[in-house]
Symmetry: C2
Subunit: 257 residues, 2 copies
Amino acid sequence: MFSKDRVILVTNDDGITSGGIRALVEVMQEFGTVIVVAPDKPQSAMGHAITIHFPIRLAKVDIFDDVEAYACSGTPVDCVKLAVDKILHRKPDLCVSGINHGANSSINVIYSGTLSAAMEASLEKIPAIGFSLLNYSSKADMEPCKKYVRNITRQMLTNGVPNYHLLNVNIPNLPQNEIKGIKICRQAKARWEESFEQRKDPMGGTYYWLTGQFINLDPGEDTDIYALDNGYVSVVPVQHDLTAYEDIDFLKTNWQL
Amino acid sequence: MFSKDRVILVTNDDGITSGGIRALVEVMQEFGTVIVVAPDKPQSAMGHAITIHFPIRLAKVDIFDDVEAYACSGTPVDCVKLAVDKILHRKPDLCVSGINHGANSSINVIYSGTLSAAMEASLEKIPAIGFSLLNYSSKADMEPCKKYVRNITRQMLTNGVPNYHLLNVNIPNLPQNEIKGIKICRQAKARWEESFEQRKDPMGGTYYWLTGQFINLDPGEDTDIYALDNGYVSVVPVQHDLTAYEDIDFLKTNWQL
């Protein structure tokens, strides 16, 4: 279902030279005209950061066959904003982010630069998908992902998602013949239990490295974590309203304001 | 309702030397033992960024009367994580973030470092509030905020919020006698329309400054924007599940996966 007139913006948070974005570009070329605007360095865990204290640079780079591509000094969200305003001068027909080297299931949706880029596109009413593979290696084999990226992209272009909500897609780190299929899921309740590794620099100063352990708090069988644990690709539709509606009555009733 | 045993973690995203955090510390000292762990430089618009590619530094600073305080080289979220793991060695009884110099109503909840710090505390099941004043000036007068910060903090400590959801509190930029009261609200649907200012550096290279215009898309009278526009302090309870539940059936029915 290739159409030259369909403009597809590709970005990520691992940086423009990562293997994941290369695989994503290859699949997107089957669907339309691809433009890449991606960070010039790794921007993982940047959340929905935007750059307001520094100017942003764009450099045209020639690293993909037949694809206009720009390395951007800003965050993944900056990439989407700049692409729309200064490169495309229009909204693309689709924005895809990834393929991330590492999981973005569950609560990672709020930490992930990959997902934030897709979220930004979605806020601008651009159909948007974030793709992630459950393998943190920079050398991860992205080939088994392609079938699912292709399938989900085709469905997005054919059937869409209501209200321009984005999709958070995670792919288990399995050979293609062991992946059982695709499940529509909800976000599992989970959190990171942080711990910092304390070290001394050569001058004797203390510094810390953030490390952490992912804790799934959700026994549900309809979650993304459950789907991934059982060999399925997970697809979670994601919206932007963080209001805890069920608390409004509680606060109105119990708080003396 | 002061209690020495009540430990209150104060952070922000404007940096530890901002006027807003000073005002927040002053009010929190009425409630318990205050510890400040805040960024050593402005970290506005950092969203839920965490620092994984660089080590993080902490420096003890003596800038508040009778308050243990640390300047942190990381993001607002890093500050909360480090405070719990390496300074307090326990969860605080309350985490407050702000007072931000500028609005964090509506969709700003996902861009704001102030709110992300409170979100991180909330994910760790710590009662958490983000406070913001609708005045971007670094010299903004924080005095009119104090009454509302005090009132909302007292209610949080007395009556709480279900499920450790955080509160996003915005305060209109008005003299205290013109503020009409406090409203419990939902997050207004809104977005930023970005535009980049293109400039040339002295070497002739192009760079961009992110600017933008906030667009309220929501005519509702129960939103935070509406409350603020009408002279009220807005309080939005905020949760962490971004699943668009109403889309799940649509996708299961219409997508061929």
